[in-house]
Amino acid sequence: MDLTIEDSLRLSSFLPVLLYFPFKKEKNIAKQVLFLFYAFVTIHSLLYALITFYFKEYSLIFNSFYIPIEFLLISYFFLKAVQNSVYQNFIKLISFLFIGVFITKSILFPSNDFDSIINGIESIIIIFFSISFFYETLKSPDRIFIDKDPFFWGISGFFLFFSISFFVFLLRQTYWDRPDFFFQYIYIHALSGILRNVICSIALLIKPYKEKVPDFA
């Protein structure tokens, strides 16, 4: 059963990659970055499965590179989504700091285990970026038809994923050995991941609204 829901999560991450190709000609930056993200997730899943099968001892080391690359790709997605230069600079600064913290922690406290602190910080940062994007959306007169904006759907997907997984990420390192938590983690993480993949698939499916909002002033 556990394998089934985790397999569903892996399979659902293929969906955005497949959906990107029919809409490739649109050359929409949001869709391009989402494709890049899911291409990375897919390649990582495949390589991780291979490494786990052939070189199990290196699988955790390989997996530890997932977080910074995932974070950088999501940050790049946010960077392209926001219009305000202050927010953009803020995203760049926070991303730089996060990578700094990740490298420092990896050098000072090397561990092959899942890192709850790094995952927790990543979740908080992405939640904060998402709230900033929504705040900018509410304030911006140009962002009216948000349900036709791939950025909105993509960010909603990431926001939901990191919000739902936040507590299990925080507690995983401490309570991973407990069977009840193990099942909770597997289900919550997989369900939030599937939800993110479905919402990001919607982002790839929708046709962006290009018309400028008329000036009523």
Binding site: F134, L138, F166
Partner: protein
């Protein structure tokens, strides 16, 4: 054993409640953003419809005004010029050659008098379309002329002062401004029961101003906006229409002392020749 059980339960609760709480907050925020944006779309569509309705009313007012003007000219020509020319025709009919010379001269004299009267009538109609003083000497002279005529009636004391009108406005805006002033003064004469009115003109680098003060019962901005949008009455709609075409603004205010009302026309300074 009990403590371990309690700790395990606590973690389960933390995970369930924490996750559920975060999910609720996230969904709530997304739903709020979507509904807020839908509300914005709704109000923008409503605003666009209101503006379209307002434009339609202005256009209708403009068309009605044109139609009214045409009917007035048609009535003047039909009722005044028509009978005069018919009378001339009577004097100059074919029997005139059979009349004695004195009657012929009398008829020709009468016909000439009527033709002169007709010329004067047509000139008056033409002057009502564009006042010759305005065309030849500009807004200041035309307004001064208008003020003299109002004073001549003796019911109200009218005056005007042009502080900076060395350079005239371009002809079309000048005629529009004249018509707006005419309409405002006409409204004051008809409705305000004022004992005096005073017009001043001023200019700075950005704007050209005309202000009319009077001590009667006047309009505030709210009154103007309310009356302008009602379907009856063309005057205020015409004022608004002309102001909009000129790219200017008009403000109606009550003086702080509650003694005067004032209407201020503000136009971009680039309309000056």
């Amino acid at each position: 054993m009990f403590l371990l059980q309690a700790a395990t339960n606590n973690v389960t609760y933390v995970v369930y409640f924490g996750t559920f709480g975060m999910l609720l907050l996230a969904v709530g925020l997304i739903v709020f953003v979507i509904f807020h944006q839908r509300k914005v779309i709704y109000y923008q569509v409503k605003m666009r419809n209101m503006q379209a309705e307002h434009q339609r009313m202005l256009l209708q007012a403009s068309l009605e005004s044109q139609e009214e003007e045409r009917q007035r000219i048609a009535a003047d020509l039909h009722d005044d010029a028509g009978p005069l020319l018919a009378t001339v025709r009577l004097y100059l009919n074919e029997n005139l050659v059979h009349q004695d010379q004195a009657t012929q001269l009398q008829s020709i004299y009468n016909a000439k008098q009527i033709v002169d009267e007709t010329i004067q009538l047509i000139r008056n109609i033409s002057h009502s379309l564009i006042p010759p003083t305005l065309k030849n000497f500009g807004l200041e002279s035309a307004i001064t002329d208008l003020i003299h005529k109002i004073n001549g009636a003796g019911t109200i004391h009218a005056s005007c002062r042009f502080n900076d009108y060395q350079r005239r406005l371009k002809l079309e805006p000048e005629l529009s401004v004249f018509r707006i002033i005419q309409e405002l003064i006409n409204n004051i004469l008809k409705h305000s029961r004022a004992s005096f009115l005073h017009l001043t003109q001023n200019k700075n680098e950005q704007y050209f101003y005309i202000r009319i003060h009077h001590d009667g019962e006047g309009l505030t901005q709210a009154d103007f906006e309310e009356l302008r949008d009602v379907h009856s009455g063309l005057g205020l709609k015409n004022i608004q229409g002309r102001i909009k075409i000129l790219g200017g603004k008009i403000f109606f205010e009550r003086d702080a002392t509650n003694t005067y009302f004032k209407a201020t026309i503000e136009l971009p300074a680039d309309m000056v020749q």
